[in-house]
Amino acid sequence: MKNNVNRELPEDLMKQLDYKPFETTEIGHPEVQRVAPKVTVTTGDDKVVESLEDVVKKTVKDGMTISFHHHFRNGDFVFNQVMDIILKLGIKDLTLAPSSLTGVMNDKVIEAIKAGTITNITSSGMRGSLGDFVSHGGLKNPVIFRSHGNRARSIENGNIKIDVAFLGVPNSDALGNANGMNGDAVFGSLGYALMDAQYADKVVLLTDNIVDYPNTPASIKQTQVDYVVKVDKVGDPDKIGSGATRFTKDPKELKIASMVNDVIVNSPYFKDGFSFQTGSGGAALAVTRFLRQSMIDAGITASFALGGITSPTVKLLEEGLVKKVMDVQDFDKGAAASMKNNQNQQEIDASWYADPDNKGAMVDQLDVAILSALEIDTNFNVNVMTGSDGVIRGAIGGHQDAATSKLTIISAPLVRGRIATVVPDVTTVVTPGESVDVLVTEYGIAINPRRKDLQDALSNVPGLPVYDIHDLQKLAESKVGKPEPLQFTDRTVALVEYRDGTIIDTIKQVKD
């Protein structure tokens, strides 16, 4: 069975898990049914619990689905605390359904898989030792990778039925009104966790900071929360996000950023009221700086900036160059701190951000998205999931979702060391070429042949050489040589869903 990006899919697994192959990026107008969580009724006077172990004993049973958010990133103290208790209690066959998995969780997940405690995982991605472990066949059932928008969709339609959500927050009152903005371990937007708070049968808040009732602004509300557990520390503020964002000095990144800016400015979308999303990498941050100057020069303001937010974006908001920041997560301290001070920085949940089965998501209104790539092929398909050795080391994040914007730009160096970024065929298709419009490398740009309008708009811009993407691929190969093909076994270790829940690719176990 092959899908529409020419990937061979395992028929038995597709049938067993009731999956359809990826066909198109068009969502259309289907009618979908959403689910609702079970509510255990209380007046709320008895929610505060001293012992996390008691709550775990009361709520988590064999075979359940548990969830966490990853807003604390590498400063997370919640996941390991909860998993240690679950492991100690000998609970088995859990499905782990976090918004994503960060480095600090890796070793605990591996321990829990080996103990039979975790037998299924769905996540945005995984890296490091866990990615290596799964790619070498460490987990029996295939991991399901979903984008942030698709996770929201799958929670709403019941494909991910969360039994217990353990959500760390830097503040909460005794009934569970909480936000991500005040306290020691602040991370700003609670965007991804809001889905879990709304749809899990049992919601357990962990906090190191119980404040007076009623706590406002309440991102998570008392109507959603079953337990509030006091712990010593929910996170390490220094590891949640990078501190001051430094402007890159890497000439290659600067050149790419400057060309990305040229593409935007010379596109038909660069006009008053446009909208954009940038990522958090060095080149993406530099784009924001170049774009700022272009907006000032042209006297143009943006209606909104979307997605994972960084300090340079917040600066545009403060200067009035961006009217609103629609914020699903904050990548650095400046962005996180700004949310409570600026009412134009709006916290949005993952559904509002990017869920395709919606009455309109923010990404549907997005003009320009600047995204990264580990690999991009001559059909413009992008891989952000597997490394050049075929091992899982990435995350879909909002890549598939933001790529549905009107102008999707992939910014990537032509080669990284000896590894070509522009290749004949990506190892894993995550985002289909159908939704990618322009590739920007340090040598020049390539425009998706589907976009004749952009070919016309961008073909005579000084300092912006336009290549056929096949020529960029050949240029990369002439520099680094032709790699030997990667060796995989027949065993599927992960399935990559497209944002509509169809299968866009599979990841096989690597052969060593």
Binding site: S388, R416, G417, R418, V480, G481, P483, E484, Q487
Partner: protein, 97 residues
């Protein structure tokens, strides 16, 4: 060309390769460490072997720590290591460059 002493060329910076050459008796034996060994290991060893052979070295132990170097870099570091090992750095082998 004869290896007179153990010699090193190159660094452990990314996109470089560090080559250590010492006396050997059993042909050119390469111990390669590289993150891209799966994709380019054969090619890296081929460049080192060909470069040494062209310089008239038939027997050598090579320890190569690769950080994603391109072929031209691998060749340059191999030549430098070989000339240092043979103590011929004063007389560059222009014909193999």
């Amino acid at each position: 060309m004869e290896i007179k002493e153990t010699a090193v060329a190159g660094t452990l910076e990314s996109s470089d390769i560090q080559i250590m050459l010492s006396k050997g008796t059993d042909g050119i034996a390469i111990d390669l460490e590289s993150d891209v060994a799966k994709q380019f290991g054969t090619q890296i060893k081929k460049v080192i072997t060909e470069t040494l052979t062209a310089m008239g070295i038939q027997n050598a132990k090579v320890k190569a720590v690769d950080k994603g170097a391109l072929d031209c870099v691998i060749k340059a570091r191999t030549i430098a290591a070989a000339q240092r090992a043979a103590k011929t750095t004063d007389e560059p082998a222009w014909e193999v460059l």
